[in-house]
C-alpha cells in the first residue's frame, strides 16, 4: 500500500514539473497533497493527514490559483515535447532535441546541477541507513523513559483529552503552537503590507 502511494507520488511530482500549463501543475500538486494525506493516515498520523488534506490539498491550491491569476498561467521558456510522445521519437530526433536543449542552457551549469543532485541524493540515501524503522520499539523516540512514553502514559490523566495530539499541541507544547499561530498571522500581515498597501499607494497616485 505504501509502495503504491509512493509510486503515485513520484508520478505526480514528475507530471507537475513537466506540465507546461501552470494551472495543471497546481491541480497536480493538489493531488500530490491528497496522496500525502493518505500516506500520513497510513502511518496513523490522523491529525497530520487531516491538516495536509485541508491545508495542502485545499486552501493552498486555491491560493496558488489566485497567485496564477496575477502572473499568468503559461510557463515561459523553451518548448518541450509532451511526455507521451517521447518514446515515439527516433534516436536521431532525441539527440537533436537534447542538443537543442543543451544549447539553450549553459552546458557546464547543467553538469554542475547533476553533480550536486547525485552527491546530495547519495548522502541522503546513505543517511537513511541509520534511520530506525517506523514504529520500531528501540528507536530513540519510543525507548523506555523517552518523552513519547511520558506523553502516552500521562497525557490522558494529566490533561484529559482523549486525543493525545491535542494535549501535546495545546498544553505541553502550548508555547510552540502560539508561535505557529503568530506565523500564520505574519503571513496575512505580509500580504496586507505588500499587496494592499501597494494598491492604496497606486490609488493615491492616480487621484493626485
Amino acid at each position: 500500500m505504501e509502495v503504491l502511494i509512493l509510486a503515485i507520488l513520484v508520478g505526480l511530482a514528475v507530471a507537475a514539473v513537466r506540465a507546461r500549463d501552470l494551472m495543471a501543475s497546481v491541480a497536480i500538486l493538489g493531488g500530490y497533497s491528497l496522496m500525502m494525506a493518505l500516506l500520513w493516515c497510513q502511518m496513523n498520523a490522523l491529525d497530520v493527514g487531516f491538516t495536509e488534506a485541508a491545508v495542502g490539498a485545499g486552501i493552498s491550491t486555491v491560493l496558488m490559483l489566485a497567485a496564477l491569476g496575477r502572473i499568468g498561467r503559461r510557463e515561459v521558456g523553451p518548448t518541450r515535447a509532451p511526455l507521451l510522445r517521447l518514446p515515439l521519437l527516433t534516436m536521431q530526433q532525441r539527440l537533436r532535441r537534447a542538443r537543442h536543449l543543451s544549447r539553450q542552457h549553459h552546458r557546464s551549469s547543467a553538469w554542475g546541477a547533476i553533480l550536486v543532485c547525485v552527491l546530495v541524493g547519495g548522502a541522503l540515501l546513505y543517511g537513511t541507513r541509520d534511520i530506525p524503522q517506523v514504529g520500531a520499539s528501540d528507536s530513540p523516540a519510543n525507548r523506555a523513559g523517552s518523552l513519547a512514553e511520558y506523553y502516552v502514559t500521562k497525557a490522558p490523566e494529566e490533561v484529559g483529552p482523549a486525543n493525545m495530539v491535542t494535549s501535546v499541541l495545546g498544553d505541553y507544547r502550548g508555547y510552540d503552537t502560539m508561535g505557529e499561530t503568530v506565523v500564520i498571522f505574519t503571513a496575512a500581515l505580509c500580504v496586507l503590507m505588500l499587496l494592499r498597501q501597494a494598491r492604496v499607494r497606486r490609488g493615491d497616485e492616480r487621484d493626485a
Binding site: 507546461r20 500549463d21 494551472m23 490522523l46 491529525d47 493527514g49 487531516f50 491538516t51 485541508a54 491545508v55 485545499g58 486552501i59 486555491v62 491560493l63 490559483l65 489566485a66 497567485a67 491569476g69 496575477r70 499568468g72 498561467r73 503559461r74 509532451p82 510522445r85 490533561v159 484529559g160 483529552p161 482523549a162 486525543n163 495530539v165 491535542t166 499541541l169 495545546g170 498544553d171 502550548g174 508555547y175 503552537t177 502560539m178 505557529e180 499561530t181 503568530v182 500564520i184 498571522f185 503571513a187 496575512a188 500581515l189 500580504v191 496586507l192 499587496l195 494592499r196 494598491r199
Partner: protein, 175 residues
C-alpha cells in the same frame, strides 16, 4: 470580471456554505476527542468564504467578508491565545499553565476542567487567526486589478491553452 458560473453552481455553493461552516465548528469542538482542532477548523471555515467568492465572483464574495472585521480578527486570535497565557501568569502560574486557573489544592476533575477551558480558548484563538488570515490571503491575492489580472486577461490565455492542449493530444501530423 469573467461571467459568474451557472445558476446550479451558485445555488449549490450557497446551500453548502452553512454546512461547511458547521463542519468547521465540529472539527474545532472535537479536536480533543479526535483529529482536528483550531487550525484545521479555521482552514475549513475560511474555505466556505472562498467557495462563495468562486461561485459569485470576487465582489459578491467580498460583501460577505467585511474587510475591517477580518483585519481585526486575525490579531484578535493571537491576542486571545497570548491573553490566556498572561491570565495564567496573573493568577500565579506559569505562562499558559491552565492548572493555575483553579489553584494548587483543586481536585483532579477540576484540574481537567481548567485544562479543558484553556485548550478550548487557545483553539478558538488559533481558529480566529487562521480563518481571518486565510480569507485575507485569498481575497488580497485574487483581487481583480484595474488591469484585470484575475478576470479579463485570463480569457484569451484560456483559449490559447485549449488550442495547445488539443494540438498536443491529437498528434497533429505536421508537428
Amino acid at each position: 470580471m469573467r461571467e459568474t458560473p451557472s445558476l446550479i453552481v451558485r445555488y449549490v455553493a450557497r446551500r453548502a456554505v452553512p454546512f461547511i461552516q458547521l463542519y468547521a465548528l465540529y472539527v474545532l469542538g472535537h479536536g480533543e476527542d479526535g483529529p482536528g482542532g483550531g487550525f484545521q477548523g479555521g482552514v475549513i471555515f475560511a474555505s466556505s468564504f472562498v467557495l462563495l467568492a468562486l461561485a459569485y465572483g470576487w465582489g459578491q464574495g467580498r460583501k460577505h467578508v467585511p474587510e475591517k472585521l477580518f483585519d481585526l480578527l486575525a490579531p484578535a486570535g493571537c491576542l486571545l491565545y497570548a491573553g490566556i497565557g498572561f491570565v495564567a501568569l496573573l493568577v500565579g502560574g506559569a505562562f499558559l499553565q491552565y492548572e493555575a486557573f483553579v489553584g494548587e489544592g483543586a481536585d483532579h476533575a477540576t484540574k481537567h476542567h481548567a485544562h479543558h477551558f484553556g485548550l478550548i480558548g487557545i483553539e478558538l484563538g488559533v481558529m480566529l487567526t487562521v480563518t481571518a488570515s486565510m480569507v485575507i490571503l485569498f481575497f488580497e491575492m485574487s483581487r481583480p486589478d484595474e488591469e484585470g489580472a484575475f478576470g479579463d486577461g485570463a480569457s484569451q490565455e484560456d483559449v490559447e491553452a485549449l488550442h495547445d492542449g488539443s494540438a498536443a493530444t491529437e498528434e497533429a501530423p505536421d508537428a
